[in-house]
Symmetry: C2
Subunit: 472 residues, 2 copies
């Protein structure tokens, strides 16, 4: 993959000495030139994600680091020549991890590599102790009768295979296991990390609130530590674990950073290019979602260098508070954006989100009607040389940040990335800059720049084409 | 490599149905049969290291876990039929990590992935703050004038390449940088982890004492975090860091576990098969040195199953307090063994140590005179089918545990292993059982069993052959 990308970069470098962008007015040709400039490394993505992650480190939703990152990003976007750069605050009840530990007590005492799941409540000062009861899956836990876990700690120990779709299949375990365990009398929950890496990191993430809270102290265990517990049980041992956490909530705020390239002919027709600035609290959020931030900013910045703005408005939205999103609460960047821009949602012609690391773009999901259109054909022609194929999957909700827009009727396109290593690092302390391959990052910028340009320059009505598809 | 090993295992399984060991008296043929049984998986190594690391987790020198692991190992060796199993205690001033943190303070606050180096003293309760001054190497630090680091924190930021010998080249940085920094007025030391892995773990290890103590609070930084500091400095920032540690010392003890297969004809001629039971405190010490423990025990156990003991005595020694070894102190397993067995050192005919993980054996280092002997030729014939070649390197001191014996004149042989991934995990929280490949572990057992058997059955005088080499 990488050597193929390098070859593309070399080819692109040759192409880049061809006549300049201003010399042609054919949108497809300009899209190809944007693509090739990005592939040649003529974009700001790597420097952007490097600075973001280096200056601010982890950026949990509502933290000072997230606020400072938003201020910095807004200033940088202004300096890059974006129009109407704005920071749009919204209130947030933030979650702070504090000190924590998970340890086996009794005859085989040992500390385990673990981390509280997002929103998990504090334990009493002395912790909570209980015997571990293992389950192979959420479904196995659900099969346990009421009271079966009285005073105990449930361990959901399901392994994640390295295949597309596995994360989505396992995430319900993280969302719902705390509640299901509580319903059966448990005093705590351990979840085998939902991740593919073999390194000994806990993979955290949000769990689903009930009545505004996570019902139980709930921790992700590193895979190696879930194995350790399993082996002790196999030796015939009772495994008692002590959970300790000082986690708590605090009234704070988060914010979306909004910046435009205002359309030269149809400025009210808005295309949202989305990513999120917040991250989990142990890593520096390089792949989740510093990469996405860098990709959408760098793609728009390449377009900003053209002699004139595209027809429609391109609106970069760097969301806050994505990682802590709960359904049906206004305390997320996506909901806050929708609320603030409710009056103009009807003019949003397209929304796209980059939130899957820096792995190469491999496929494009378009609504069926769009895929069959002249616009769709031109787009594929531009993307094909980068090893991009049509996706068999529909765009769906397009991502957590833009889901509220999509649910309000805005069409979504999805550039699908190579995610085969994404879940090695996702939501761990190991999500750091060195996990980003610069050539693959630039390939993303190439696809985003070409797509954003074509979508902003065309008069095609994506909404009508998407609706047509639904009628078929 | 692995598929080659599997093929060997399959072949060995076929060979194993050949006439039983008792049917021949040719030592070389018996060595080949021991080898093939081990390759076929007929050894206890994997179960041994699995139980050791699962039951006791991390086993820092002098800890309750190390004591309990020694008790368990002794009981297990007795049950396996070893002779004269004994736990030999010695006093130890143990080091306990306690809570600790390293964080950047000021305009870009963020916590770094770091861990105090072994023996590092506690900081004051509020920590120690200082500006970071980076150096590319220990030599660069040594070039700084006296007073150059007054009130500051030195960072030795040397990267380790993935090549044999790199660890030895960089370890002086860990041993001596604290003292060199202290000499120049520093208040703390940060050391880029000496390791090859990209995962965000601090690689710890001992530093050299001065007047019985580590002169400065000294921490290993994960590579990604050393990069982070370097990038902040490159952005023109002053980087101030706060070090905090509650580390301390405690009077305790450690122990060597000694177990023999007493020689049937020359029981006073002793061959030591060495590994160590203690580990660093974050991982479970699976590759360092649970693997070595399992290899030497399993090799001897295969020999114990033969109809009769070999001519000479095979003595398995599972050392304590290897990781904390300081030169010229009796508080290490190696020194304690030498002291206890001083009267019989002249009868120690050979010492060997397994302390380099579970990577496959690839080469054999023998003293020159031994390599040229009939014994050496037979040994190579038995090891060759496992992809083992003669090593260009001399045996040297053979390992930390047996170095005192070697310095007292005992010859050492070394089975050199594939260490290309060893330093990805070495001395980190990620040194866990899943890093051991069972087939490679069994290949080690095969080489050790064949070698130990041949060395114990022969009458060859290794000491005389080694001395002859020196005279050449």
């Amino acid at each position: 993959m990488r050597s193929a990308l390098r070859l593309l970069c070399c080819l692109a470098a040759l192409i880049a000495v061809a006549p300049s962008v201003a010399a042609t007015e054919d949108p497809e040709a300009i899209a190809a030139q944007l693509r090739d400039r990005a592939l040649a490394g003529d974009g700001i993505a790597y420097d952007f994600v490097s600075e973001l992650t280096t200056r601010f480190g982890p950026r949990p939703a509502g933290s000072s680091a997230e606020h400072a990152a938003a201020d910095w990003a807004a200033a940088r976007l202004r300096a890059l020549g974006f129009d109407g750069v704005e920071i749009q605050r919204f209130p947030l009840v933030g979650w702070i991890r504090g000190e924590e530990s998970v340890e086996i007590v009794g005859a085989h005492p040992q500390r385990l590599a673990a981390a509280a799941l997002g929103g998990s409540p504090a334990t009493p000062e002395d912790g909570i102790e209980g015997e571990v009861v293992p389950f192979d899956s959420l479904e196995a836990l659900r099969a346990a009768p009421p009271g079966a876990l009285a005073g105990r700690i449930a361990l959901v120990n399901q392994r994640m295979p390295r295949i597309a779709g596995a994360y989505g299949a396992l995430v319900p375990g993280r969302l719902f296991a705390p509640g299901e365990a509580a319903d059966r009398g448990a005093v705590g929950l351990l979840l085998r990390s939902i991740g593919t890496g073999r390194a000994r990191f806990a993979h955290v993430g949000s769990t689903r609130y009930r009545d505004g809270r996570v019902p139980l102290p709930s921790f992700a265990l590193a895979g190696a530590d879930a194995d350790q517990v399993e082996r002790l049980l196999a030796l015939g041992k009772t495994v008692r674990v002590r959970l300790h956490s000082q986690a708590g909530h605090v009234d704070t705020h988060s914010q979306n950073v909004v910046a435009e390239l205002r359309g030269r002919e149809a400025p009210d027709e808005v295309i949202v290019l989305a990513a999120h600035l917040d991250s989990w609290d142990a890593g520096t959020g390089a792949i989740d979602d510093g990469a996405g931030v860098a990709i959408v900013v760098a793609a728009a910045e390449l377009i900003a260098r053209l002699p004139q703005r595209p027809r429609r408005s391109l609106r970069v939205v760097l969301y806050g508070a994505e990682e802590v999103a709960q359904p049906h609460t206004p305390e997320t960047g996506g909901a806050a954006y929708l609320e603030r821009h409710a009056a103009e949602v009807g003019n949003h012609v397209l929304a796209m989100e980059s939130d899957f690391g820096a792995g190469a773009v491999q496929a494009l999901s378009l609504p069926g009607g769009v895929a069959e259109s002249e616009f769709g054909r031109a787009l594929y022609r531009v993307l094909t040389p980068m090893a991009v194929v049509p996706s068999r999957e529909p765009p769906g909700r397009g991502g957590v940040d833009i889901a509220p827009l999509v649910e309000a009727g805005v069409p979504a396109f999805v550039l699908r990335q190579d995610g085969s290593r994404y879940f090695d690092f996702h939501h761990t302390a190991d999500d750091t800059l060195d996990k980003i391959d610069r050539a693959e990052l630039d390939q993303n910028v190439a696809a985003w720049a070409a797509l954003a340009w074509l979508a902003a320059e065309t008069g095609t009505d994506f909404r009508a084409l998407s609706a047509a598809e639904v009628d078929q």
